[in-house]
């Protein structure tokens, strides 16, 4: 047993987190910043933070993750990190020549109270920021929210620093894709392209964290939203924000700053999530949905109907990030599956819990929803009320192995498989891929458990 000390009996805990279902803000900010073209993310704190964040993102994407640090010493922790950040800005622009530096803070610099804009102004005054280059920042104290909050804060910073109000709105739609994979961002763009809608997506980590091996290392890969595009977001006719926790802040800021109205949607995961996304896009942009997308939708419906018997009534335990959990739960319910344990470590609020309750109200079982729970509790819930399928990040494999339950990897981090960088979960195509994953997991199990007598060739 890997997690042999995990008991079925659940004791109330108020202070100890065991096996967290979240991590801290700065890593989300670093991930978001990598979705700007030519950007070097910068961690204003001890060097351990950026080392950990780069390591985790690298293990997850198996790609270079470039970022820098202020490398606080004990002295800077006492006297503030201004000197370190000034030196870092100078060194980064001199040696690594990014178009912009995206500074995020840490628990250390936030506890000290470093004022980043003031330090950046000083850097500008001292000539450390070359003409046409930028330093942006987001406050991302690690002791507030989670990695999702950090992603949201850095995405909002893109609006705060760059969005410009124009005389006239154009036909472009801004997409804030939420905390999703590069493959998902690519798929969202493909859908919009197919509909003939010009978009600006920010951040956009596709072609940054799923790049090719060519024999040449590029410090700043081909992908990412550009600074001119970020400026133009203020002149777009509207914004579609995907996922409340990760995307609302940026969309709201853009509305407040440049009067660009926004529509908040769930992540376009599953049939209805994707339907809603495409339907809203159609209405905002005033375009017809191309047959190609309707055809893809039909394929997805076809698969669900063909294989319905394998989905029906199966109990699922999910652990991960709020926006993902909400969309996935709705997807699973639409398949007549029963998500019965839903846990996130992110403090997502009462409204989120209520939305999950609403989404699962027709599930014919007791549904445990724990917002601000951890994986230890999740495991205990599974022990008390076993499930047929687990969905979560790589750490869930320890639970899956101990309890001998089929398992699909989804979320962050995935350290032990590839796929998430290249194959989407969003859209109809992503949905088909996800259906395949569910079926493979469940049907492989049926095959494994089949006796010599009831082994099925055709399923």
């Amino acid at each position: 047993m890997l997690l042999k000390h995990t008991t079925k009996e659940i004791m109330e805990r108020s202070a100890l987190t065991v096996n967290p279902a979240k991590t801290c803000q700065p890593i989300g900010a670093m991930y978001a910043a990598l979705g700007i073209h030519g950007c070097l993310p910068h961690s204003h704190g001890s060097q351990g933070c950026y080392a950990y964040h780069r390591s985790s993102l690298t293990r997850h994407y198996k790609e270079p993750v470039m970022a820098a640090t202020s490398a606080f010493t004990e002295g800077s922790s006492v006297f503030g990190g201004q000197a370190n950040l000034l030196q870092a800005i100078d060194n980064m622009f001199t040696v690594y020549k990014p178009d912009l530096i995206a500074v995020h803070t840490t628990c250390l610099s936030e506890t000290i109270g470093d004022d980043i804009p003031q330090i950046v102004n000083k850097a500008v005054a001292e000539g450390k920021v070359p003409a046409g280059k930028y330093v942006i920042h987001a406050n991302t104290p690690s002791y507030v929210g989670s990695h999702v909050t950090g992603f949201s804060n850095m995405t909002k910073a893109m609006v705060d620093y760059f969005a410009e109000t124009g005389a006239k709105k154009n036909k472009t739609i801004n997409i804030v894709p939420g905390y999703v994979e590069p493959s998902d961002m690519e798929e969202i763009r493909r859908i919009c392209d197919a509909m003939g809608i010009p978009i600006i997506m920010f951040p956009d980590t596709s072609r940054v964290l799923n790049g090719p091996l060519t024999g040449r290392f590029h410090m700043y890969p081909a992908g990412g939203v550009t600074i001119p595009e970020l400026r133009q977001t203020g002149q777009s006719m509207g914004t579609v924000a995907l996922g409340n926790l990760a995307s609302t802040a940026a969309a709201f800021a853009l509305d407040a700053k440049c009067k660009v109205p926004y529509k908040l949607l769930d992540l376009p995961i599953g049939l209805h999530g994707t339907d809603m996304f495409i339907d809203i896009l159609r209405n905002i942009a005033g375009v017809n949905v191309p047959d190609s997308l309707t055809f893809e939708r039909g394929q997805m419906v076809d698969i669900i109907s063909d294989m319905h018997q394998y989905f029906y009534g199966k109990k699922v335990g999910l652990v991960g990030d709020p926006d993902q959990l909400l969309a996935l739960t709705k997807f699973l319910v639409s398949l007549d599956m029963c998500p019965i344990h839903i846990v996130t470590g992110t403090p997502a609020g009462k409204k989120f819990t209520a939305e999950l309750r609403e989404a699962t109200k027709e599930v014919p079982c007791d549904v445990n929803i724990k917002v601000e729970g951890d994986m230890y509790l999740f495991h205990q819930l599974v022990k008390n009320d076993p499930v047929d399928l687990l969905i979560g990040n790589s750490y869930v494999k320890y639970i899956a192995k101990d309890e001998d339950i089929p398992f699909i990897r989804h979320g962050f981090p995935i350290f032990d498989r590839i796929g998430h960088s290249y194959l989407p979960t969003v859209g109809y195509r992503g949905g088909i891929l996800f259906l395949e994953k569910i079926l493979n997991a469940l049907m492989d199990r049926q095959d494994r458990d089949a006796t010599d007598i009831n082994m099925e060739l055709v399923m």
Partner: protein
């Protein structure tokens, strides 16, 4: 500069056909002048005098903000490296959630819980106080106390350790006082570490703090003397990928009793007992030499430097152990084991050497590995062009002979040096001064480490705390056949079209220690430097972009 002496001219060597000094200047050219001056002292072209004196290298100095390097923090060194791999201590990270999360299972320290009677194994778990804003403002001691209580109630461990993260030091939580209080209340060993991430200049500070803590709170707690004639501790072996298991296998064959390993496949019970051993072996000098020094002062256990990375190095280290115990039985046994293991090594080397001979490697890792792994490459007929440590000190590069000359700077001064004196009851010199003298005369060296540079070729480039910029320059200039570092460097190197071997996590392979480990390593490196994929980077139309006159159908 003063006029060049003859000796210097004679020492001037080309590195792989290139002038290393010129390459160094090219690396520095892109830095702001002040930074270039600092880095110039950390990039050294190797020279080795007859008495093994090597040039001074600036190391264990502050990381330069903004340059992008390899280093982690004090917490990572303390919790992640030294204390993390012990299965039966509940390690609670006191801080916001990130630090505990990132150090959860990511270092591949294997452990065999069936070796402990109670079977405790908390290593697959992550424990954190997950501090929120409230605790940052009003203090986190109350939450920490409650967390320790909950850890005890849920898991009933025999020991709990508490690790401070950056904000803990700033807000002034006293983790030691809380630990003392809870130790008394729960009746189990509870101890804290002030290993805030900003302390020191790298992981190295955390190693030292961990050494101090484990020496103060654990070593010597159990005086039970175990059976066995040749009892020793293995220090600085973390059982990545099962390295310690392989070393244990060899020790067992030789009849050597391993009292404890600091810290791989380890139990706190073994640490408590470590002072009863008769010899300390040091693998990773950087991370653990402090414990060895303190055990010698307090309990009289001498230490020698060993290396179980490389078949020859393993054999040499085993012979040193036999020499120390002065037992013909052990010496005979060791020779028999070496004789038994070596044929497989030779057989494997015969197979792979034609495919590895003359290939060139670079390695930038740790505080020992960049040195130790050169042994394995040498066995394969490969040359190390350039190497350096992430968090080594001058003694790791230049040898302990320079210890008296090392200036203690502001960052090092803050890391406590414990004042250790002989234990009134338990200090027991294992060898008399006369015996020690005789052993030294026979060639055994105690309490010494010669460092990396003395064993490297003249002209090779030694680079401390390598930056991304310097790594790129090295790769572009030399196009090495393999580059070794950690996960953060891995894919940037490979984008250049050069295979990259992780020497922290072994790319999820291993073990690489001992005899069987050497064979694993030969095979992995042979596979990597000869992998077909590096020849497939260009599509046919990229190799030959001109359209040819004929359609393919016409041929």
């Amino acid at each position: 500069m003063a006029s060049t002496t003859h000796a210097e001219i004679a020492d001037k060597r080309l590195l792989d056909g290139k002038d290393p000094e010129r390459i160094k200047q090219e690396m520095l050219r892109d830095y702001p002048p002040k930074i270039a001056r600092k880095r110039a002292k950390q990039i050294i072209i190797n020279k080795v005098d007859k008495d093994k004196t090597v040039p001074e290298i600036s190391s264990n100095v502050r990381t330069i903000p903004g340059l992008i390097g390899q280093r982690g923090c004090c917490y990572a060194g303390c919790k992640g490296v030294v204390l993390g791999p012990t299965r039966d201590i509940i390690n609670i990270t006191h801080g916001p959630i990130g630090c505990g999360f990132y150090s959860w299972l990511t270092r591949r320290n294997q452990t065999d819980a069936s070796a402990s009677p109670d079977g405790h194994n908390f290593m697959p778990y992550c424990f954190s106080t997950d501090m929120h804003e409230k605790e940052i403002v009003f203090g986190g001691e109350k939450k920490l106390k409650q967390a320790i209580q909950e850890a005890y109630d849920n898991f009933h461990p025999k020991a709990i350790a508490v690790f401070s993260t950056c904000p803990v030091g700033l807000i002034g939580d006293d983790v030691h006082a809380v630990s003392r209080e809870m130790k008394e209340k729960l009746g189990i060993n509870v101890f804290g570490f002030s290993c805030e991430g900003y302390k020191g200049v790298s992981q190295s500070a955390g190693h030292h703090i961990a050494n101090n803590g484990i020496f103060t709170h654990v070593i010597g707690n159990d005086d039970t003397v175990r059976e066995g004639e040749f009892k020793l501790n293995l220090l600085g072996e973390y059982n990545i990928g099962g390295d310690a298991f392989e070393i244990e296998r060899i020790f067992e064959k030789c009849g050597i009793t391993l009292v404890s390993t600091f810290s791989g496949n380890s139990s706190i019970d073994d640490f408590a007992n470590a002072h009863t051993a008769d010899l300390n072996l040091i693998m990773c000098h950087r991370s653990i030499n402090y414990v060895a020094e303190m055990m010698e002062k307090k309990f009289g256990v001498p230490w020698i430097k060993v290396n179980f990375i490389g078949a020859q190095a393993t054999a040499k280290s085993l012979r040193k152990i036999a020499q120390y115990f002065e037992s013909p039985v052990l010496a005979e046994k060791v020779e028999a084991v070496i004789a038994e293991e070596m044929p497989d090594i030779e057989k494997e080397l015969q197979l792979i050497r034609p495919r590895t001979m003359g290939k060139r490697a670079m390695m930038f890792v740790g505080g020992s590995r960049a040195h130790h792994y050169q042994e394995l490459f040498t066995e394969m007929g490969m040359e190390t062009l350039s190497a350096g440590y992430e968090f080594g000190h001058r003694d790791d590069y230049e040898g302990r002979r320079v210890l008296p000359d090392i200036k203690v700077d502001a960052d090092s001064r803050n890391i406590e040096e414990l004042d250790i004196s002989p234990d009134p009851d338990r200090f027991r010199p294992r060898k008399s001064p006369e015996e020690l003298k005789q052993l030294v005369e026979k060639g055994l060296t105690f309490s010494d480490y010669e460092g990396m540079m003395a064993e490297m070729k003249i002209g090779s480039m030694i680079i401390d705390d390598l930056t991304q910029h310097e790594a790129d320059k090295l790769i572009e200039t030399f196009k090495p056949d393999i580059f070794c570092a950690g996960i953060k460097e891995k894919y940037a190197v490979q984008k250049h079209g050069i295979p990259m071997k992780q020497l922290h996590s072994y790319d999820y392979g291993g073990p690489y220690a001992g005899f069987k480990g050497a064979i694993n390593f030969y095979r992995d490196i042979e596979r990597m430097v000869n992998s077909k994929i590096w020849g497939f980077l260009k599509a046919p139309w990229e190799k030959n972009p001109e359209l040819s006159a004929n359609y393919v159908f016409d041929e």
